[in-house]
């Protein structure tokens, strides 16, 4: 905490308070505090970095970029400034530039699990799953319980679908070590949803939204899961549960039933079955989209 003296709190104390406020996402207060700090230390890289971080968190990418440039002009090796520059590139979908920054950072800090996690996340987002997995192995070798490495490794495990959730060792470690973390809950939502248990996924997602009520991302997630659990989508359960495999089987079955009806039932009855099938096909392709607009 601050140690007041004749000239007010020290820079260290101000930065510590600003960090604490940023951790709690109290950005307006943190911004006020940093403005106070900037009056006495206008060119301090750490003050500028935190101001840029708040801009980035609030989606003001141009402002954040300008401030990060100032930080790196004064201190080209500033760790936070460099990581924020990479994040800014990613936010602008300049993935190749972001990768260059992560690689340079990793060359300078080869034992930093945070950096392996961040670079791995970029590789996962750009669908380079093998490399993301190898980066996570390295990150977890350096820090076996690193939360972000565990989070990304658990997601890769789910994507690759090699075994059941109970065998997802990284997810288990996340739940055991960090049960309250957002990343743990997010991974659980994904795991439950991929298993077809959208109701449980919705409950966890609602918990996420309660923790971060201002997050548009979690709001969208809850909306999407509410859509998936809507009663009117119940006839689409095979597609929701087994994905394209389910859709393929239903299609072949439908075609088979319609054809069998034509050859073995009366024309009227066969026509009714054909129309029901047609209606089901149209419903399966159009209704989820319509419902998404309605909810």
């Amino acid at each position: 905490m601050s140690t007041p003296d004749d000239s007010g709190p020290t820079l260290g104390a101000l930065l510590q308070q600003a960090h604490a406020l940023i951790d709690r996402r109290r950005f307006p207060h943190a911004r006020q505090l940093l403005a106070t700090a900037a009056q006495s230390y206008p060119d301090n890289p750490q003050v500028l970095y935190l101001a840029a971080f708040i801009d980035y968190s609030e989606g003001k990418l141009d402002d954040a970029e300008k401030t990060v440039s100032s930080v790196l002009l004064q201190d080209p090796e500033h760790y936070g400034g460099r990581t924020l520059r990479a994040e800014l590139h990613e936010a602008r979908k300049q993935f190749a530039q972001a990768e260059t920054v992560w690689i340079e950072l990793l060359r300078d800090h080869p034992e930093d699990a945070d950096l392996y996690a961040s670079y791995g996340e970029l590789m996962m987002q750009t669908l380079h799953l093998d490399k993301a997995q190898r980066l996570m192995q390295e990150g977890l070798r350096l820090e076996p319980n690193h939360p972000k490495c565990l989070y990304i490794a658990a997601l890769i495990h789910i994507i690759q679908g090699r075994s059941s959730d109970s065998e997802n060792e990284h997810l288990q470690r996340l739940v055991t070590e960090y049960p309250e973390r957002i990343q743990t809950l997010l991974t659980l939502v994904v795991a439950l949803s991929q298993r077809g248990d959208n109701r449980s996924a919705l409950r966890v997602a609602q918990q996420l939204l309660a923790m971060r009520p201002d997050s548009p991302h979690y709001l969208t997630l809850v909306k999407e899961l509410k859509l998936q659990t809507h009663w009117s989508l119940l006839p689409l359960y095979p597609m929701q549960r087994w994905g394209w495999g389910g859709a393929g089987v239903i299609t072949v079955l439908g075609i088979g039933i319609v054809h069998a009806a034509r050859s073995s039932l009366t024309t009227d009855l066969a026509s009714v079955i054909a129309y029901i099938w047609l209606a089901y096909v149209v419903y399966s392709w159009t209704w989820p989209g319509i419902l998404r607009r309605l909810i």
């Binding site: 990793l106 987002q125 669908l127 380079h128 679908g161 991929q194 299609t251 072949v252």
Partner: protein, 163 residues
């Protein structure tokens, strides 16, 4: 005999491999591919060639053409197979089971089989996009183009086998 390498050298090699760039600014990063729905509709209505056109476009976006090129070969083989079956009474066994006009159903099932193959090639990428919430590009124009290409290709291949 190759020289024995120290574990430290192996670790350094491993890290150098990890720190080799995978993305480049002059190539559209493979952050999104056309959805499985686009591949499905193109395959179902346009046949294997149409499905392959979308799947190979996805392979290009993923820089996997060197791995995925057999999809094109499979599609052409299936098209020739369909054309041969249609002109050489190849569906007569199916006609005997489900009645006259079964060729249409047989072709649809083969289209679905091709979709399953294309899906298997890119399954992890489709699942990644679903898990990570990556929005696929709009596949309407490309899908319609692929369906036209598929239909034209099937008509052309049909000319190879006289009835």
């Amino acid at each position: 005999m190759p020289p024995t390498r120290t574990p430290l050298a192996q670790i350094m090699d491993h890290n150098n491999d990890l720190l080799r760039p995978s993305l480049s600014a002059d190539h559209n990063p493979s952050a999104a591919i056309y959805s499985a729905r686009t591949v499905f509709l193109a395959s179902f209505f346009g046949g294997p060639i149409a499905g392959a056109a979308i799947a190979l476009t996805n392979a290009y976006r993923l820089r996997r053409l060197a791995t995925d090129w057999p999809l094109g070969l499979i599609a052409v083989a299936l098209c020739f197979g369909l054309a041969w079956l249609s002109t050489h009474h190849g569906w007569s066994w199916l006609d005997a089971i489900v009645g006259h006009g079964s060729a249409l159903y047989g072709a649809r099932v083969i289209n679905l089989i091709f979709f399953a193959i294309a899906y298997a090639f890119h399954r992890t990428y489709f699942k990644s996009m679903s898990v990570l919430g990556i929005t696929p590009p709009n596949g309407l124009a490309v899908g319609l183009g692929a369906i036209c290409l598929g239909v034209i290709a099937e008509l052309a291949i049909g000319q190879v086998f006289p009835i």
